[in-house]
């Protein structure tokens, strides 16, 4: 078999696979409401404001509710919580807000 045939076959298989994954993504998006229902129900009932991504410090667990000066306040010798501390940026406040 010619090498170019093998290459075209390999590329075609990959493209078909990629199209199937796009279809998978498209069909998943149609059921996203049902998939996220347990999260949205709890968030609505408990009036939650944040996702539970990083639980090690107040300002990483609830970044939208944190003090503006929260990082580095856990302990005099506490190092910054890496990497979550570097991912969570300070809340962007409206002009005029405290």
């Amino acid at each position: 078999m010619r090498k170019s045939t093998l290459f075209i076959f390999f590329t075609s298989i990959n493209i078909i696979f990629l199209i199937l994954l796009m279809l998978h993504s498209w069909t998943s998006l149609r059921t996203v409401g049902a998939f996220l229902r347990p999260c949205t129900d709890i968030a609505r009932e408990l009036q939650l404001t944040d996702l539970c991504l990083f639980t090690e410090a107040r300002y990483t667990r609830n970044p939208s509710m944190a003090d503006l000066h929260a990082p580095f306040q856990d302990h005099p010798l506490a190092l910054e919580h890496f990497p979550s501390g570097s991912l969570v940026t300070p809340l962007r406040v409206r002009p005029g807000a405290l």
């Binding site: 290459f7 404001t49 539970c52 639980t55």
Partner: protein
């Protein structure tokens, strides 16, 4: 048409043979390239999916949360502030939220303590992350040390479903009176106030009125909450910038290596081809196909692997970034959100730089004088 196609196929055949002659170098090149595409694609899919889920889940978050600030820090807010806020025109409801954090010294985990009116006294509903960490099941007893250090027992009434980990992995929901007793939380105070405003367009006006009426408060709008998540997973944000800068740096080194020229063997090969009658355009086409074989294969394989990693294997490589120092961390599956736009961006971020980096050496190779090339 067929003649042109056949010409391209012949050149692809030759390009593949040429790549296979330098098997070691080209396979390692393909692997590095695939890894870079995989990394960039996985970050893009992961952050897009998380941003989307944050916006969907938090669309029912309170319109506005009002905190009290004392000496620059968040402090319990008097519940009677709620009555004054409720009197502002446009405010339809004010609900005090009593919540906080609890550090569990035995396992070193932090819980988020919430209250619910539907929770019976002496019982708790816990997130599945808490249940997993402490190996608890329904009906088990859970101990908390109260503000005096006295152990207090609570019965686990319910464990929240695994599917809710993205918001509830570390939650412990108690009755309000239990939480007040546990922490000696001041009566007549709440952690913050959830404010509902009838008309969303009035939110900023209502926020300004609250600050005017109660200058020691800080209103946080839902749009600001959502923006927080946008900024965490933003292009300029932490994870993206760290990972992308590593990927781009490796790519630059690798493209530089490619752009700095041809090996003596390659020059000789081109010299022979040209002396056999190959035109400059044929050599350029050969180099184009060599680059395309590598970059297209790396792109397709990298994107497919990234999709599988993020959406079928829960982005296990990023688990450590999410865990950080935490003992208790969420385990969740993301809903795939990949569109043509993202793939086009990925293509331009990964394949185009490689193609550009190979243009100069290809042109130099194609215009070589055959005699000089063979003698070198």
């Amino acid at each position: 048409m067929n003649r042109s196609l056949e010409r391209h196929r012949n050149i692809i055949d030759f390009a593949l043979s040429s790549l296979l002659r330098r098997k070691g170098k080209n396979i390692s090149l393909l692997m590095v390239y695939t890894l870079i595409v995989f990394l960039v694609a996985a970050i893009m899919f992961f952050t897009h999916a998380l941003k989307r889920e944050a916006s969907l889940i938090l669309q029912d978050a309170p319109d506005m949360v009002v905190q009290r600030m004392v000496a620059g820090r968040h402090d319990p807010i008097p519940i009677n502030y709620g009555k004054r806020i409720a009197a502002i025109r446009g405010v339809s409801a004010v609900r005090p939220r009593v919540w906080g954090y609890y550090y569990e010294p035995v396992v070193g985990a932090n819980y988020t303590m919430m209250t619910s009116d539907s929770q019976a006294q002496g019982t708790v509903t816990i997130g599945s992350g808490v249940a997993r960490t402490l190996r608890l099941t329904d009906g088990d007893l859970m101990t908390f040390r109260n503000y005096n250090g006295v152990p207090t027992l609570f019965q686990v009434q319910k464990i929240m479903p695994y599917e809710s980990e993205l918001v509830a992995a570390d939650l412990v929901v108690t009755a309000e009176s239990d939480l007040r007793e546990l922490f000696n939380f001041p009566r007549g105070h709440a952690t913050d106030l959830a404010v509902t405003v009838g008309n969303p367009r009035e939110l900023t006006t209502v926020a300004a009125k609250i600050v005017l009426l109660l200058p020691d408060t800080r209103p946080i709008l839902r749009s600001e909450i959502l923006r927080t998540y946008d900024s965490i997973f933003d292009w300029r944000g932490g994870m993206m910038i760290v990972m992308l800068s590593i990927a781009v740096l490796s790519f630059v080194i690798f493209a530089w290596d490619k752009a700095t020229g041809l090996s003596a063997e390659e020059r000789k090969e081109i010299g022979i081809l040209k002396s056999l009658g190959w035109e400059t355009t044929d050599v350029l086409l050969l180099k184009f196909w060599e680059g395309t074989v590598i970059s297209l294969s790396a792109f397709l394989v990298g994107v497919i692997l990234a999709y599988g990693h993020v959406f079928f294997f829960s982005a296990s490589l990023f688990e450590h970034a999410l865990k950080g120092w935490a003992i208790l961390y969420p385990q969740f599956k993301l809903v795939p959100v990949v569109d043509g736009g993202q793939l086009a961006i990925l293509f331009f971020l990964t394949v185009v730089p490689y193609a550009v980096a190979t243009i100069i050496p290809s042109w130099r190779a194609a215009t070589l004088d055959p005699d000089a090339a063979m003698r070198s």
